[in-house]
């Protein structure tokens, strides 16, 4: 597997009216890593994802993916370069069955160029390819689940469907926006190995998370945001010990002492 920097964000800023949602965020993601981004509510995590993937235009700063400046590119071009994302609030096509949901990304330039699922080659019958991907991500192939309307699937499957949409583009980098949120403990327990397996297969992941326990289990590096400012970046065990992180999450020590 090739090593090196896959994604480099430098000096990214975004302002919504009077709110500075992101100020001067810089970080690098290495190929093959799982990079965690944490932070309290409203700290700008999802805005960061939107800026990187082109859904929101950033005010300043630069995003470089695979050595190519993607700052000004529209979302579909960024996705075709192999940088895909999931949505925090799932966005399946509710009126379509699960397997038909995956037929849409198979029409992208990237999916047609990169070919079929596993082992590459020509993109075969789209229905077969989408069923292959769904089976791979935990939809039982011989059951009726892949044929059910997305509107009738439970949250766990919808989260997997989000990931499946990314996978059908044969991505190099997936940004998972709170993939664990809203899942039951058992669903999370089955999702963690899936994430680890994707990493084993050479896909780089950025995980935006509230679930610190699961995130720290899988992440190689973690970055902490608070009020749109980068607090710290480092190994999970460094980050969790950092005073500023504790303060951002639990309030400062002095306040805790006063209330105690």
């Amino acid at each position: 597997m090739k090593k090196g920097i896959l994604l480099e964000v430098s000096g990214l800023s975004k302002r919504f009216g009077g709110v500075q949602a992101l100020s001067n965020i810089s970080f690098k993601v290495n190929r093959g890593d799982i990079f965690g981004i944490i932070g309290p509510n409203g700290s700008g995590k999802t805005t960061l994802v939107n800026c990187i993937t082109g859904f929101i235009k950033s005010d300043e700063g630069k995003v470089v993916f695979r050595g190519k400046d993607i700052t000004k590119l529209p979302p579909h071009k960024i996705a075709n370069l192999g940088l895909t994302r999931t949505f925090q609030i799932m966005r399946p096509y509710y009126s379509l069955p699960a397997f038909k949901n995956l037929i849409i990304p198979l029409f992208s330039h990237r999916a047609r160029k990169e070919g079929g699922w596993r082992g590459g080659g020509r993109l075969g019958d789209r229905k077969t390819v989408s069923l292959d991907i769904l089976e791979d991500i935990g939809f039982e192939r011989d059951s009726s689940v892949p044929y059910k309307l997305a509107s009738s699937l439970p949250t766990g499957y919808l989260k997997r469907l989000e990931l499946a949409r990314c996978l059908s583009l044969r991505p190099e980098l997936i940004i998972c926006d709170e993939i664990f949120s809203g899942l039951s403990m058992s669903e999370i327990a089955s999702m963690v190995p899936l994430i680890e397996r994707l990493q084993m297969e050479g896909i780089t992941l950025i995980m935006i998370e509230h679930r610190l326990r699961e995130l720290f289990r899988v992440a190689n590096r973690v970055m902490v945001l608070n009020f749109g400012v980068k607090l710290i970046e480092g190994l999970p065990e460094e980050v969790i010990e950092d005073e500023r992180v504790k303060e951002a999450y639990f309030g400062s020590d002095t306040e805790v002492m006063e209330y105690a």
Binding site: P74, A79, N80, R85, R91, P92, Y94, I104, F107, S144
Partner: protein
């Protein structure tokens, strides 16, 4: 013995898994599928022969032109998520283009029809391109504005015949060619588009309606998809427009009349949105009814509105959606 029966309602199996199996399980099942389609196709094809009055033959022609607009509206609204009031715009652009090509450049009819349909559709698509990123009501407003703009431009600048219109457009060789041309166009448009929305590429269009953000994240250019859809709908509209001009043998500002925008919507509501064929059925009810009510003079619009209101209140899902629901959820008597 009679009291020992009860009505049982059965849902047909999961459609995606059985696909066509139900359809060929018995003659009756086949009949359910074949007879409505055959009625539509043969009914339309035989209508010029069966209807003796020239007046009512003309009405059938108008029905077909409105059907083209209604199919386009239904496609844009229920499969791509763009509410278009552009019927008048499409008819006007196609019509004036056809009249111009025919009278100024002396192109024959069999060239003006394809050229004005395609070039007209390109013009409509280009003009609507700036508002394609918009969602919801904005697209509707812009499509409503364009015909008004064009009408006033023609009036104020006195171009393209001004308020008088363009006279001397050549007509179809005879009544039969005229009728069968537009009937075949309608049938092709209907069945091709129905096929189109159900094949894999059609899913991309439907996905844009469902969730355009997810389509963007899937690496697909949403604006391009929408533009293609607008092109298809305006192609149908411009085809209707240029045909109308050759029937009238005249192109005037009334081509931009609001009727062309509103009747397709009303027809889609009555026939059932999202079925395409419903739009055609709707025009088959609305346009002839509107002609019948002509005898009532001024009260016509009152009765017309009452009929529409009745449909909206009592069968708001539309005829086709009601029929399809009954088909998928059939009832039978079983012994208790």
């Amino acid at each position: 013995m009679k009291g020992s029966f009860r009505k049982e309602r059965i849902d047909r199996g999961i459609k995606v898994r059985t696909e066509g199996i139900y359809a060929i399980s018995s003659w009756r099942e086949m009949g359910y599928l074949i007879i409505p389609r055959a009625m539509l196709i043969f009914g339309l094809l035989l209508s010029p022969v069966l209807i003796p009055s020239l007046y009512w033959q003309r009405v059938i022609t108008y029905v077909c032109i409105y059907s083209l607009l209604a199919i386009g509206f239904d496609f844009l609204a229920h499969f791509v998520g763009l509410v278009s009031l552009g019927g008048a715009f499409f008819i006007g652009v196609g019509g004036y283009l056809g009249a111009y090509l025919n009278t100024y450049l002396n192109l024959p009819l069999y060239l003006t029809i394809p050229i004005s349909s395609i070039v007209g559709a390109v013009i409509c698509t280009l003009l609507l391109l700036p508002c394609l990123p918009l969602r919801g009501v904005y697209f509707a407003i812009i499509t409503l504005m364009y015909p008004l703009i064009f009408m006033r431009l023609i009036e104020a600048l006195d171009i393209l015949g001004g308020t008088e219109g363009i006279f001397g457009v050549s007509s179809f060789p005879n009544q039969w060619v005229e009728q069968y041309f537009i009937i075949l166009c309608t049938l092709f448009a209907l069945f091709l588009l129905r096929r189109f929305v159900n094949i894999d590429v059609g899913l991309v269009f439907r996905a844009v309606k469902d969730n355009d953000q997810a389509v963007r994240a899937s690496g697909i250019n949403v604006t391009f998809v929408k533009a293609t859809a607008v092109f298809i709908a305006s192609l149908l509209g411009c085809l209707g427009g240029v045909t109308l001009v050759h029937i009238y043998m005249w192109a005037g500002m009334s081509l931009f009349a609001l009727d062309f925008s509103i009747i397709p919507i009303a027809a889609t509501v009555i026939g059932g949105g999202g079925t395409l064929v419903g739009a055609v059925i709707g025009t088959f009810i609305l346009v002839p009814v509107s002609e019948l009510l002509r005898e009532l003079g001024t009260l016509r619009i009152v009765f017309y509105s009452l009929i529409l209101t009745g449909f909206v209140i009592f069968k708001s899902e539309g005829i086709m959606n009601y029929a399809q629901r009954k088909y998928h959820q059939f009832e039978r008597w079983v012994r208790v």
